[in-house]
Symmetry: D2
Subunit: 307 residues, 4 copies
Amino acid sequence: MALPDIQANHPDIQINLTRVGVTNVKKLVEVSRGEKRPIILISTFNIFVDLPKNIKGANLSRNFEAIDEVLEEAIEAPVYEIEELCSAVARKLLDRHEYASRAEVQMQSEYIIKRKTPVTDVQCQEIVDIFADATATRENGTNLRRRIGAEVVGMTTCPCAQEIMRERASDELLRLGLSGDKIATFLRNVPMATHNQRGRGKISIEVSDGVDVSLDEIIDIIEESMSSRIFELLKRVDEASIVEDAHRRPKFVEDCVRAMAKLVVERLTNLPDDSVITIMQTNEESIHRHNAFAERVATIAELRDEI
Amino acid sequence: MALPDIQANHPDIQINLTRVGVTNVKKLVEVSRGEKRPIILISTFNIFVDLPKNIKGANLSRNFEAIDEVLEEAIEAPVYEIEELCSAVARKLLDRHEYASRAEVQMQSEYIIKRKTPVTDVQCQEIVDIFADATATRENGTNLRRRIGAEVVGMTTCPCAQEIMRERASDELLRLGLSGDKIATFLRNVPMATHNQRGRGKISIEVSDGVDVSLDEIIDIIEESMSSRIFELLKRVDEASIVEDAHRRPKFVEDCVRAMAKLVVERLTNLPDDSVITIMQTNEESIHRHNAFAERVATIAELRDEI
Amino acid sequence: MALPDIQANHPDIQINLTRVGVTNVKKLVEVSRGEKRPIILISTFNIFVDLPKNIKGANLSRNFEAIDEVLEEAIEAPVYEIEELCSAVARKLLDRHEYASRAEVQMQSEYIIKRKTPVTDVQCQEIVDIFADATATRENGTNLRRRIGAEVVGMTTCPCAQEIMRERASDELLRLGLSGDKIATFLRNVPMATHNQRGRGKISIEVSDGVDVSLDEIIDIIEESMSSRIFELLKRVDEASIVEDAHRRPKFVEDCVRAMAKLVVERLTNLPDDSVITIMQTNEESIHRHNAFAERVATIAELRDEI
Amino acid sequence: MALPDIQANHPDIQINLTRVGVTNVKKLVEVSRGEKRPIILISTFNIFVDLPKNIKGANLSRNFEAIDEVLEEAIEAPVYEIEELCSAVARKLLDRHEYASRAEVQMQSEYIIKRKTPVTDVQCQEIVDIFADATATRENGTNLRRRIGAEVVGMTTCPCAQEIMRERASDELLRLGLSGDKIATFLRNVPMATHNQRGRGKISIEVSDGVDVSLDEIIDIIEESMSSRIFELLKRVDEASIVEDAHRRPKFVEDCVRAMAKLVVERLTNLPDDSVITIMQTNEESIHRHNAFAERVATIAELRDEI
């Protein structure tokens, strides 16, 4: 029996659709990376094409099949970086959907990093959230923009409350007879208390096809821009070291975003001028139930001009 | 003691910030609406201003205070519609932050609607998710764009699987000796089985200040565009009626978006041409673990041209 | 037409069911409290009865109706405390379901508290999560057990890291020539740095029907047992005061649970010996991505014995 | 410098704690399974010990280290089933914490299954949620109870609405002149419409140490007990087959639980009488915003008696 193909019909209401597809598709992704250890992820995908006004449906029942097949192929191929995966899927989607002018693939996943504790040098695992998108458009051949990024948890300490605590310490030491010079030395060597908390830094970088962006570099920039990295495992001397370091580098939510922006400009020197950089920091304030937030969205050219 | 004001300092890294503020601020909101019953909501707010490169911090400690005070004032004033609330806050934020060129307020909430069951006419409550944003910018005085919208759960039935089931029924009735005419009558009167599921329709409408957009109308358009509304309470005759109605109006995810677009054009005739309409439909497919999704983003002028 | 009533049939597989019902039912709840301002909540309910082996279905289509009607009645009645609401629903459910031997109602909600900032005395709102359950059983008449509780966010500071920082400060001040006595005075007056974070304390109290438990008292005990309360709005002197207070009362996750247990024993003196107390503390450690957790489950009689 | 060890101090408030530990610890888990392909998971762990009243803290800073080390060892060992992992950690925790009388390890993860589409036999991936717990207690040596389970999404179709639709079809066919016999044949061969939706079945099985419980068997029982399995990828003939099958096996939420209970009794014949079985079904009703729910908690001996 030939099954009816309703999706090929003309729709009653003829309007264009910007995106038609599937969301929350979970897949086991294995990314081989040449010499490095392969990355294994459970990733969640959203996959879309646009749909012209005269076509009723993107044939989602067939579409699922196409998408899945493409994903399987992409997974088995020797893909070298995660954002390549989305590009490959987006390109193939456009091949299969002759009516579509645009295909979009979004991926997000948890990603495990191995690292050593700061003082005792014991190995532990950290989890970061990573994401990659790719959009293929059909204009003078196939054009492709892609985006890659990460969100990482670290620790931030508040400069404002710390400054007040420094003044209290200073007043007290003055009262106890310590000289101004020695008070300054003390405050330089022993950082004072303040509220501190989990911060979440996030960077996404959107580039044209063919531009390399290192995910490991992005993760490193995010962590370096907070008051301190955090660790799943900390022996007591490690904990003391983290607390002291974090209190020596107090940072407002604004400071974290600016620090990330500066490091992006300094380290990602290969980015073309039209690369779009989105940088966000969310601090889960220990003195409030709400969060503090800062964000910068700009082209790398704009950031280069400002710094 | 005069407390140090670190936020007023010049920052070490001088770059502009697009958004600085607070997220996940929960507030009890009371919106008086003239003759209608007041609306009481527990709303979650995100509130931002931009920050020029030469200022270290948006003084979040003071900023929280300003925001809160503004919110309290706005709540106590006889505000008439929910999106007015965000506009009022955005405008006042810009007044207080002389350095900012842009202020942005986002709000989301659960909103309770009372309605009657379709056959038995019993009153029940439904919950919808609503949201409103406002962005005030300082250019030739204060400009304000605002956005209001809702996400509503309804029921969608799949036309494709139903068409296959209709053919099976037709073949079987033919085999049992029923005439083609009578088969057609039967299939017209008794809708065949298909997979069906919760769908979530979402419309947001962005307009300039001063343009009225009715939230109740938006909710109505979303519900009317799915295969059927849903109800918390259904007696057995109501349930039968809903199931039958939904199976008489099978809809792809694409159909729902197109139906919403058509109704927006037909019913929101007062919208200026540059109003931006975002329409989304997500179907939580009962035959898959993933969702089907469709979206249209366009100005109302573009939609009017197409329909 | 008489509609078929499938639920009344005998099931193919005859086994008893512990719970049959509905979950995630959202309702607007208005609780009048005599002289106090009425409480308005959007609450989420789960509502169950048990089902004997010989009945096919709990007639959920009718059951929804019963539940809703009962809830509406309960809402309109002059209920005085939130946990009374669940008891009333549980009791009525048992009346309506002659085959059920047990009815269970669970409710959770966000609850808004008004309070003043610690130094500047400005009013602000805080949100806490509250919950109540009631279970009615049919044994020698109707028996009722009920549970009420809250989860509140506060601030906790780590005693361990602080002790290390105290030693560093002490060593440094000794090196700078300050006497032991004066160092002790300094450390008594100026609390040293440590990691601190959002903590979430939770208490639930299960009692027989007719025993009063004050939700406001529970919330107060939870907040008092952490290093400091937190506030949505803090002027700079308030922030300094909170940070200093929290650093004067460093608390392990275990300390918070023990402090809550002690206050429950001291303040809830009316609780019968068989009241079941569950106390939990979760600290969202600022130096880790994971949380620290402690819990005590005991009857009040057991806690009274230990303290 | 010898760091101070505050956790070893006597606490001010001396009460026992039921659980002290860490929650939301994410780890890459590799489970080798002899001849089968190794399982790779990103798992979330909660790990606790109890704490006697005279000890201030469970030394979480050291405890983290112990836990991590134990987990690493457990991961590298040739563990054969996932629940073995938790048992191994629980046992080792008890060895290390001489003061603890009880250690508890909870794990949850997403788990990927490969399967073929029902008609077209194309391979696709499905994701299920799995969990395992183990509790070790020190009484006459070490006793261990463990629990393993899964939650799987499938499709459920409502018998009640379908029965009504069958009557409508029957009435209409009678009106069109079809004989009663032929109507019965038709309704036997072509299942009528009803509402259907995603259902989530869940089984957990708690046993003493040394009793084997197959996770794959549990998953299979859950899926078989709903109206139909679901698939990420369905060609159109597969979709038709799924819809038809699901409509031939309409199931109330109660039916799903009873079907699971029956299959557990029939297939898990090796379970000792005191094994505790928890079975739950949640249907995300397409005609409501709330869910239908049923549950049975019983020992396997009780279930065997009833069936």
